[in-house]
């Protein structure tokens, strides 16, 4: 007997036989990322309350031009027209922003949460047409590796800011003294989480060792590949952990600077 196979109809948007709460993870991603983007955009446009004592908010670091003592090249230069919205954060935030936007983990997560491609595994999609990352425009996501190098540069700059964050100026004498405040700890934890996120990036894993079929023959690569792989297994965790720590460090410094919170000193 000849059997003619038939194809089952594709399901419509959101249709599935799944009974579990399949919508919960994409919903949490949708809310989490939206909150972050809204807050980061708002904070970047404020151009105020981004420093407190020796602390500089990671949203504003490095401060290339700006009014705080952290600025590399002094205040906003005259050649930037007055009608262009300016803040030190707007000059630098696009880089870490695009690093995260093109990260493999975030891509998979927001394709589901924001674009329904698919809304969740084994759940029907809203559109029939699909090009994925095979062609324009999403093929451009492959620039991720360049943003990774920039992000590695940021790790050094943010580590330097932690170093600066242990030198407090005594308001009465004007003398500089060594100290650690809660803000110093927050900035340090932030750098650790960002490093775990960046060094466990899939591109890093590829470059330091994944590229070789016999990584054991390259001793340095061998060790680096093992480290990057270990971090890579927790990439999702560090992606969210570092997102939260960056935003919280900014909120903390902002509220201290506004006088709403006080910064407790460890010593």
């Amino acid at each position: 007997m000849e059997v003619i196979p038939v194809r089952l109809e594709s399901r419509g948007f959101g249709e599935t036989e799944r009974r579990d709460m399949w919508w919960s993870t994409p919903l949490v991603v949708l809310i989490g990322l939206s909150l972050f983007v809204v807050y980061a955009t708002w904070a970047a446009f404020q151009n105020a309350h981004y420093t407190y004592g020796p602390y500089l908010s990671p949203f504003y670091a490095p401060e290339i031009f700006g009014d705080s003592p952290h600025a590399w090249f002094g205040p906003k230069p005259g050649w930037i027209p007055a009608w262009v919205p300016f803040s030190p954060a707007l000059l630098i935030l696009p880089f870490p922003g695009l690093f995260r936007f093109t990260c493999y983990y975030y891509r998979g997560a927001y394709y589901k949460a924001f674009w329904g491609d698919p809304p969740a595994c084994a759940v029907g999609e809203p559109r029939n047409a699909y090009r994925g990352e095979q062609s324009f425009p999403l093929i451009l996501q492959n620039v991720h590796r360049y943003f990774m190098w920039i992000a590695v540069g940021f790790l050094f700059l943010l580590s330097y800011d932690v170093w600066l964050a242990i030198w407090f100026t005594d308001p009465t004498t004007g003398a500089t003294q060594l100290g650690v405040g809660l803000g110093t700890i927050l900035l340090a934890v932030n750098v650790v989480l960002l490093s775990c996120y960046t060094l466990g990036c899939h591109v890093m894993r590829h470059i330091v060792g994944g590229v070789h079929d016999e990584v054991s023959k390259h001793p340095l690569c061998d060790r680096a590949y093992a480290c990057s792989t270990a971090l890579n297994y927790k990439h999702q965790l560090f992606a969210w952990g570092s997102l939260f720590s960056v935003a919280f460090a900014d909120i903390y410094i902002r509220l201290c600077s506004m006088g709403i919170w006080t910064d407790p000193r460890v010593f």
């Binding site: 009974r19 493999y104 589901k112 084994a122 999609e125 990352e133 095979q134 590829h206 590229v211």
Partner: protein
């Protein structure tokens, strides 16, 4: 535990299409979904078609969708399911249905024949043997756990919803490609095919394949993304290209 349960099982009609048929049956402790299907077959529906072989999660024959999740029927215990409501069992949706729970997965075998075979380098020792470091082999060993259940192919939306069977080989065959391409001894070059004919760019790394794999292979993180990165270095990254020209 000895109780009644209702199973809604997909039945195909001879004239095409299909519907769910409800079966009420006795279930007892320790049963898996495949046992229930067999009991229904024995007691109520002798013409119910189901494919199975090992009942040990190793042959990859009994793939189906249980309450909408791609699973092996023989590895899905009833105590993981809510038996207060009917349990649905339907065939894999990414492949054409032959009868009831049996699908035609022959497309996968055709795809596999098109992938370049293993091409080892010349032997390392005069006696015709090779030397490899354990950890280099470990990396590809993970991929060899695949039992070809094709659950990952079933859940992948590129095949399931967009039917790109002509342009995209699916996660199972990225795992297969990775096992060969990253093998310490292999010399063949599969990157041109991965980029064009195999359509690796269609994967949007949503990791559904990884979630359903009964062998817990890290399909997306360890096979697909590393292959994507190799394709990027070769074709989309002008800096890597330049370095290669001078390096």
């Amino acid at each position: 535990m000895n109780s009644d349960a209702t199973f809604k099982i997909w039945r195909t009609h001879p004239e095409g299409g299909g519907t769910y048929q409800d079966f009420h049956t006795q279930v007892s402790e320790g049963m898996v979904v495949l046992d229930v299907v067999h009991r229904i077959q024995a007691e109520q529906a002798p013409d119910l078609a189901v494919r199975w072989n090992c009942k040990a999660g190793k042959c990859g024959s009994c793939s189906a969708e249980i309450n909408g999740n791609p699973r092996l029927m023989c590895m899905t215990r009833l105590d993981e399911l809510n038996l207060w409501e009917p349990v649905t069992v339907e065939p894999m949706r990414a492949f054409p249905s032959i009868k009831d729970l049996v699908t035609d997965v022959s497309w996968n075998y055709r795809v596999k024949t098109q992938i370049q075979k293993f091409q080892p380098r010349h032997a390392d020792a005069p006696d015709g043997t090779w030397r490899m470091a354990q950890r280099d082999v470990d990396r590809v060993q993970e991929f060899r756990k695949c039992i070809e259940c094709f659950l990952c192919q079933d859940v992948c939306h590129v095949l399931r919803d967009h039917h790109k069977h002509e342009e995209f080989i699916g996660p199972r065959f990225f795992v297969y490609n990775a096992a060969l391409e990253m093998h310490p001894l292999d010399t063949a070059d599969r990157l041109p095919a991965l980029k064009d004919d195999n359509g690796i760019g269609f994967c949007n790394i949503t990791k559904c394949c990884t979630k359903v794999c009964p062998e817990h292979i890290h399909i997306t993180d360890n096979a697909i993304i590393p292959l994507k990165e190799r394709v990027v270095s070769r074709y989309y990254d002008p800096v890597s290209r330049l370095l290669r020209m001078f390096g």
